[in-house]
Symmetry: C2
Subunit: 228 residues, 2 copies
Amino acid sequence: MSNRSAIVLLSGGLDSATTLEIARSQGFELLALTFRYGQRHDMEVGCAENIVRNAQVREHRVIELDPGVFGESALTSDEIPIPKGRGSSIGAGIPSTYVPARNTLFLSYALAWADSCGALDLFIGVNAVDYSGYPDCRPEYIESFERMANLATRSGVEGWKITIHAPLISLTKAEIVKKGMELGVDFSLTTTCYDPDPAGAACGECDACVLRLAGFEAAGVADPITYR
Amino acid sequence: MSNRSAIVLLSGGLDSATTLEIARSQGFELLALTFRYGQRHDMEVGCAENIVRNAQVREHRVIELDPGVFGESALTSDEIPIPKGRGSSIGAGIPSTYVPARNTLFLSYALAWADSCGALDLFIGVNAVDYSGYPDCRPEYIESFERMANLATRSGVEGWKITIHAPLISLTKAEIVKKGMELGVDFSLTTTCYDPDPAGAACGECDACVLRLAGFEAAGVADPITYR
């Protein structure tokens, strides 16, 4: 596989769908990587599959993770309520939706795939602006993962440079929506809600929905997904 | 769980069995983590289970990884011969037994467990002396993983310090054998061979066996496992 292949972490959300199109616009051949880990909003994985079907992606891997790995998080346990409205955790430290070391594990899988196929570029749709409570969404984290990756791997030792691209990291949600529109992302295929109903309609009230709706509004674009 | 719990990566080999006892000797409550990933020497996992049964370990988790994750390595593919004798790769760059990003993935799982239970100490039995061909067994790799871990996690952000302990990293195999003897490691429960026969007897010829045998010899100790 060529050095111009990139591994893109694709959750099925708005951010990763946009990141996939950014990687394509930079000329990379796309390898998409999705995880199923007992997240409450398991429809994410279905969205990722729909996005891939709609796009030119060379290969899509869906990896099953033992949900026990991550311990307790509001995203993986029915026992912990999803924060909404006044319970919102935006701007209040690390949210209860934090999943321990999730991005590290996701990027490590991407790194294993990259080092086994010769790809040097990894894309992740993390964002530090709207939602700075997650430690593993910050630029200093991404930089340190990249340094580690170049010491960990065959590619790094043999003098190639592995790059972790986080093209959304300093964009607002409105800027991400605009970028996605420019690149032709079909946002109707994406999901964001932490707590969708059985038919897939978003709640409109969890932190993720609140940020998404505000982003579309600020971008002056209608959000094409269904809210209940 | 207390901050004095440590996650120990336990493969079932001589090095990780010794590392487990080093962690215990430092006063940690032990949480052991083993992976099954289609390695040819799958008896490793059985050895890890026997070591745990013989020891006081608070919890042992065995995680199944999709073997496809790591791509092709002589350790996971029957298509690639295990180097022996004149085909040995000791000292000759990155060996064909290198498994892409394996230690990064293993440590990332350990980090997820640690960050979900409040443990701050991770132990890995890597060794840079006898076998320097693996990029992810070098001190600079371990240091960079530790830096990344402290940026990635709740513990790191909340001002705790996560430490990656690699107590064997600068020991020779003979020193590891002596250390293990001091600490009462039962080496008869460990396995090292990349290519054991169906009954579990070691080949005595692969790089791992050659290093193990030389280590026992230099330590002046008889190796209690069976060779064919």
